[in-house]
């Protein structure tokens, strides 16, 4: 069985995608849809890995699991660093953005006072809490793994599909 390519770089690319989605204000709202951004990173890790594969090394479901989980780990670490950096420089821009959306849609007026107070407390947070980082280190690999499995389901070769073979060199005469 020929050696498979390393999963490290595709997982890192997937992790970077996850981190950017999680850290950029506005874009991080995507994660409000059941961690869609994190799952997308896991899926993309499988996509990048698939490009390195040959006919002799087909994509396996265990690859999806490993790629997704590793991408999630990278995503959590890079995302936490990016978020902390962005919050230190710009403050809680994402929270302000959500508040302004709610204000403009009139939803803020309908919210109960305790919910508004909870939101205001969240807006005053200008740094990442230890709890958030720990939770990212658990949640991101978990949802990244799910993304990796979905990626496997999406990018797996169809049975009987013709995979291009490398050209065969004719035997040379001694």
């Amino acid at each position: 069985m020929p050696n498979k390519p390393s999963i490290l770089m595709p997982a890192l690319y997937g992790g970077i995608i996850m981190a950017v989605i999680s850290a950029v204000p506005g874009l991080n709202l995507l994660n409000c849809l059941c961690c869609a951004g994190v799952m997308f990173g896991g899926l993309m890790a499988v996509f990048f890995y698939k490009k390195d594969l040959t006919a002799q090394t087909p994509l396996e479901s265990s690859d999806g699991v490993k790629l997704g989980a590793l991408a999630g780990l990278f995503g959590a670490i890079i995302g936490s660093i990016l978020t902390a950096g962005l919050m230190a420089v710009t403050g809680n821009v994402g929270g302000q953005m959500v508040k302004s959306i709610l204000e403009s849609s009139g939803a803020l007026d309908q919210m109960p006072p305790e919910a508004v107070e909870q939101m205001e407390t969240g807006l005053r947070e200008t740094s990442l809490s230890f709890f958030t980082v720990i939770m990212s280190l658990i949640i991101d690999p978990l949802f990244g793994l799910l993304g990796g499995l979905i990626g496997y389901a999406v990018f797996k070769s169809k049975p009987g599909a013709v995979v291009p073979q490398p050209p065969v060199q004719p035997p040379t005469q001694p």
Binding site: L33, S61, F131, I139, I150, K156
Partner: protein, 172 residues
């Protein structure tokens, strides 16, 4: 063969635990006193993965669920799909439906979740539940066979079965 049922049961138990946490958060919050801390823990655990807006969440005992209507429905539909999986599929024979099912299940939710939905029709709890429910229900039919086969591969047992895509949702 050894790990098929174990993998399925682990995923089922994990999903039950996850869904229970969503419902237990408002119960703990309503109880207060010693339960206040676990309630806060669960709400904060779900905070990075859900907006938790009160007006977009189911409420129980005057406290919102730990996740919004759409997310809760996806998780509960995923649980329902996981419970239904052995009826439509043999756990020992992981077979994946055509990936078109995944796309068909995802599209309505994407339309409903993103601003496109707001322009086409009124996005309500019902549309969030229907579109999220369809996606959540279909997802285990892709996740479970892939996970079952992955565990088999990772734990080193010889691979006897490989996943194939098929046209329909059932084995028949």
């Amino acid at each position: 063969m050894r790990y098929h049922r174990t993998t399925y049961l682990v995923i089922l138990c994990g999903t039950i635990g996850w869904c229970s946490a969503i419902v237990l958060a408002p119960v703990f919050a309503a109880e207060g006193s010693v339960f206040a801390l676990p309630a806060e823990f669960v709400y904060r655990m779900f905070h990075p993965i859900c907006h938790q807006l009160r007006e977009r969440s189911f409420t129980l005992l005057d406290h919102p669920f730990a996740a919004c209507v759409r997310c809760s429905t996806i998780y509960f539909a995923f649980l329902a799909g996981t419970l239904l999986y052995p009826i439509f599929r043999k756990i020992e024979r992981p077979v994946m439906p055509s990936r078109l099912f995944l796309l068909a299940a995802l599209l309505p939710m994407l339309v409903d979740a993103f601003p496109v939905g707001a322009g086409l029709y009124e996005v309500t709890h019902l549309t969030r539940m229907v579109t999220g429910g369809i996606f959540g229900l279909v997802l285990p039919f892709f996740i479970l066979p892939a996970a079952i086969e992955a565990v088999q591969q990772i734990l080193g047992t010889p691979r006897t079965v490989s996943i194939h895509h098929q046209k329909g949702l059932t084995d028949a």
